[in-house]
Symmetry: C2
DNA sequence: GTCTATAGTGGGATAGAC
DNA sequence: GTCTATCCCACTATAGAC
């Protein structure tokens, strides 16, 4: 009944779920495991989330907020914007591989996300590139690079820093042109 | 004992597995379902594949061969090479969404793939762009676009043909520069 | 190369008591 | 808002007979 106070079990569940996801991967994201870490039984979680999808959506929303924040923060730096965004994007993906995949590999649970969140995350890229199509090209390029890197698709001896440098160059030229 | 003859159950299993994957998605790719479609019991499959991973690898290998063939074929057309490759890449991804994801979303079972297959698939892109880093940028851009499109991440009203046109332009400029 | 039987493991979710 | 008990489902994989 108290207002403005921590939500208790619900918030703790999201925190635990995220930790399990990030440290052990998506297989660890089960109702039983999450409940176990909280010291409660799995059925109790259903008092706080309608189903597993609801819990996942809460984790995704938190990830999106953090990602958006990181992207915005990068634009506040003194670095050239395209390079700054690229660096922030790659850093987030590599530091949170499982979270990144949960957020990007399948359809978003849009019906369970706060309205406007998805758009607000895209804003830094859209603002930087102006043109919508070019912004989407930039987004896809960054996502493709992170996705392939996380999937181990580049040869072990590939110079990925060099590839990202090339990507930034290509986007800078397109943005200037 | 016969030589040069159809492999029978093994080949049929791969065919069925691929059909199930493509028509019903990855959840349908179970030993039980595959066996059921063949009219045999699941344990019988283990006479033909050491485990599920072996069966998946066979499906992936088939997909890689087909994809590589489509990319090579596109270069033989009269179209400008970057545009031709982009069109072939997108077409394959959209026509085989589940197969595409099985091939690209996680680490390849390299120990179970024919030697050289992975490299041969990459060859058309590498040849077209010459520079290794630029080739990887092009690959990542195409993969990112297909991946985001398959995940339903672009707005419903997004002009994806326009985005691909922009991507091709950007890569053409980089290749010429 | 197929079968039956089965081991072993794991999952999401509900009912109803407290 | 937690518990216990339970349902029902699914999966990979092995052993051993035929």
């Amino acid at each position: 009944m108290t207002i403005g106070v921590a939500e208790g079990t619900r918030a703790a569940s999201v925190k635990v779920a995220r930790r399990l996801l990030e440290t052990e991967g998506p297989e660890a994201l089960t109702m039983r495991r999450i409940a176990g870490e909280l010291g409660i039984q799995a059925p109790s979680l259903y008092k706080h989330f309608s189903d597993k999808r609801g819990l996942e959506a809460a984790v995704i929303a938190e990830g999106l907020r953090e990602f958006g924040h990181a992207m915005n923060k990068s634009l506040a730096s003194k670095a050239e914007p395209v390079r700054a965004l690229a660096r922030a994007y790659r850093t987030f993906g590599l530091q949170h591989p499982h979270l990144y995949r949960l957020m990007n590999d399948r359809e978003l649970p849009r019906d369970l996300l706060p309205p406007g969140l998805e758009d607000s995350v895209a804003l830094p890229i859209v603002m930087t590139f102006g043109d919508r199509s070019l912004a989407r090209v930039a987004w896809a390029l960054a996502h493709g690079l992170v996705s392939l890197e996380l999937a181990g698709r580049f040869p072990a001896d590939a110079d990925l820093n060099g590839v990202w440098d090339e990507a930034v160059r290509v986007l800078q030229v397109a943005r200037a042109g």
